[in-house]
Amino acid sequence: MSKHHPFARLALAGIAALLPVVTAAMQQELPVIQQDIEVAIDRLGDAELSATFTLPAAQWRLWNQTYGQNEYLLKRDFEHQFSAVVLHDFKLERDEMNRTATLRMKGAATAEYRGNGTWEAELEKGARGTRVSDTVWQFSKSTVEGGAILQQTFRVSLPKGARDAEQVNGEFGVPVLRYTLRPERRSPWLLLGGTVLGVAGLTLLLLGLLRRPARA
């Protein structure tokens, strides 16, 4: 079948394959579909993902035909598309009245630790991002998918404390969002406090021993 980004599949699997034929047959203006995708990455590189979209009537019917009775198919499609991520805790919320759906899931290993405090999260090919703040990046993409113009907005939130984020080409030639975040280390205060107290105790003890006992 045609290749689609998983979020595109989310909205359009089942109709995407019809695209060239439908356009050939109908030659009509394509509807526009907006998808909003939020990805929040935590300190371990795991992420919570959500994708919300609203479909025109025809696309909503076809999407329901594909996934309506078999939501597991969505999970399988996503697992195929995100091979390097461990997806779990899928949840699909559908609002039939407004032809809107939101898919939530968690993805372990969304970002990979590359050492020296550097992390990398893989992006979709051709994605170009904009820095919103130190920890928030936004990506936009517009493609023709499944007989519709698909406008996608990805908002990626990095963990608190992340810095120096930049979009670069990764190990396999795909774009990655690289950022710096030093791994949390265990607090040394107990050991440090104990050492200081020990030194102080020894000093006091030494001073006490050097001082002559008071005469009776």
Binding site: M1, A25, H80, S83, A84, L190
Partner: protein, 574 residues
């Protein structure tokens, strides 16, 4: 007094110091501990060996092994290295480095195997091992672990339509979830195919090619020439075949699909083989082929701008079957293709021309844009040049151009229009004593109720000994699982020494109730006997029905219409 205070304070500070230092070590986290979860694909297609090597192909879904590592301990694990090998094919890969795995962190190692080109000539199936090695710095120094998991390496002609576990297969779409790899059977860069196209353009099309940017008229001219060559050179449709095999814990629908060069020279092909051959030739000529699939069929089409020109490649016919099975004209082949496409678009399983059903390809499954799939990395194997095959092409073209022109076309009616008359079912109605079903047993057939105590689900068996036609009705109580019921029957016959193979082939409505249709065969190697059959299965209200009608091997196609008349008399309670 001061001395005493100093000594007491010093002792107190030392005690507090000791307490803090002890607390530091007592509350220290547990050492790092890595857990491993290993997934290995049950089978790989050697025709797609280049696909598996490409991390970018299919968005990365064609890995062979996937290792999920998680640090379940409390301390960082450092300098992790993962590597893989497939003994006999791939040496240990350069270790992939993971500088650290933090407590609670997950990392994934994927293996995209780079098989040598030589696997493209593999024609048999073998069981191979993938070995995985993990090394890391942990408590007590460097640790190493390794694991080994088996997988099947299929011969180059095996097309695996699905690799899902049996329990995951609930629809026809599930049975074809791996079908993007069909693009690996479209070989425009095969030196033999390129040579054929070159010769066709030079000797038949008068030195004119088509290529990118060709309009509808030019494209049709090229398609006509290809089709005419097929008809004139005797390329025929070889019938259908799709056999599921068990592969590990998965039920995989695997079909033997010859490479386009083999079909071109061998001069016979299944629908999917003719579709991949047509697509290969078209793509080699610079056109944009597409393959459309349904539950029981595959056919090619060519994209020309926003237009799509489908062609029913099997319309070359099966002349060996006699009158009515000859080749259709090119125009009629395109017309059937258009009817197929229309049915595909409308989600129908029947192709209609002028109100008449000309084909029953089944419900639409997929649309495969070959150039797009190749661009995604789903590419065919590297094929060597073959002067012998080229010589055969030369010989065929010389014979055709010397005698009949390649533009000669048979104008006989299409194969699809020729259906043997369907005799009626004269017989007596059989009612199941439990009231689960009713079916007509044709006159002259011998029937037995629950003939095998060891298989109580077999409620009725009837057979015509003279023709070898037969029917069976199974009723499974307390379960609703069509595929599970088929597996039980398969295992029961297997325990008697029989080999049962089957594949879902669509749906059917019997007495207003919907059934899943299967096509299959049973073979007893010890006696050399067997049957070919269709099964109709339905699960509802805690009952699963499986009714089969079959006949002797090689006769199913000819007797299908009659056997379907019998099955149409089936009425089930649930």
């Amino acid at each position: 007094m001061k001395r005493t205070i100093l000594l007491a304070s010093g002792c107190g500070f030392l005690v507090a110091s000791a307490a803090l230092i002890v607390a530091h070590f007592v509350t220290a986290p547990a050492p790092g501990h890595v857990s491993m979860q290993i997934e290995v694909k049950p089978a790989v297609m050697t025709s797609a060996y280049k696909v598996y090597a490409n991390r970018a192909a299919g968005d990365g879904r064609y890995w062979l092994a996937k290792i999920i590592l998680k640090n379940e301990g409390g301390r960082v694990l450092e300098n992790l290295e993962t590597s893989f090998q497939v003994p006999g094919h791939i040496a240990w890969t350069t270790p992939r480095k993971h500088p650290a795995l933090l407590p609670g962190q997950t990392a994934v190692a994927l293996f995209y195997p780079r098989f040598p080109d030589s696997v493209a000539s593999k024609t048999t199936n073998t069981t191979e091992q993938v070995e995985f090695r993990l090394a890391y710095d942990g408590k007590g120094g460097r640790h190493e672990e390794s694991r080994q998991v088996g997988f099947q390496m299929r011969g180059r002609n095996d097309m695996i339509y699905t690799t899902l576990p049996a329990s995951e297969v609930v629809s026809a779409h599930d049975l074809y979830e791996n079908t993007d790899l069909l693009a690996a059977f479209v070989t425009p860069d095969d030196p033999v195919i390129k040579y054929f196209v070159q010769q066709l353009e030079q000797k038949v099309l008068g030195g004119t090619g088509v290529g990118a940017g060709a309009d509808v008229e030019e494209t049709l001219r090229f398609m006509r020439a290809v089709y005419a060559y097929w008809v004139a050179s005797g390329i025929v449709y070889a019938g259908t075949e799709g056999l599921p095999e068990r592969s590990g814990d998965s039920i995989s629908m695997i079909q033997h699909v010859r490479l386009p060069r083999e079909v071109l020279v061998g001069q016979a092909g299944l629908c999917v083989e003719l579709a991949t051959l047509f697509a290969s030739i078209a793509q080699a000529a610079g056109l944009e082929p597409v393959i459309l699939t349904t539950e029981q069929h595959a056919y090619p089409a060519i994209k020309v701008g926003k237009n799509l020109i489908p062609i029913e490649a099997t319309a070359v016919g099966m002349p060996g079957r006699g009158k009515g099975y000859g080749a259709a004209s090119f125009e009629h082949a395109v017309r059937i293709g258009q009817a197929n496409l229309q049915a595909w678009l409308q989600g129908r399983g029947e192709s209609v021309i002028d109100g008449k059903v000309v084909m029953q390809p089944g419900m639409p499954i997929g649309w495969y844009d070959i150039a797009e799939l190749h661009q995604q990395g789903i590419v065919p194997p590297e094929l060597p040049d073959d002067p012998v095959l080229k010589q055969k092409i030369d010989d065929t073209l010389a014979a055709l151009l010397g005698g009949r022109r390649a533009s000669a076309q048979a104008e006989t009616p299409p194969r699809q229009a020729a259906q043997p008359p369907e005799p009626g079912v004269a017989g007596s109605a059989y009612s199941d004593p439990r009231g689960h079903f009713v079916i007509t047993i044709p006159a002259g057939w011998q029937a037995a109720t629950m003939p095998y105590p060891a298989m109580p689900a077999l409620a009725l068996q009837a057979m015509d000994r003279s023709s070898g036609n037969g029917l069976e009705v199974y009723v499974f109580e307390g379960a609703e699982n069509v595929y599970g019921a088929m597996s039980v029957i398969q295992q029961a016959i297997g325990s008697s020494g029989g080999v049962v193979r089957f594949a879902a082939s669509g749906t059917a409505t019997l007495g207003s109730k919907s059934f899943t249709r299967f096509e299959g065969s049973t073979y007893f190697p010890a006696t050399g006997s067997g049957t070919e059959w269709e099964a109709y299965a339905r699960a509802a209200d805690n009952l699963t029905f499986v009714a089969t009608v079959g006949t002797t091997p090689g006769q199913l196609a000819a007797r299908r219409a009659y056997l379907r008349q019998i099955i149409r008399t089936l009425r089930v309670r649930a």
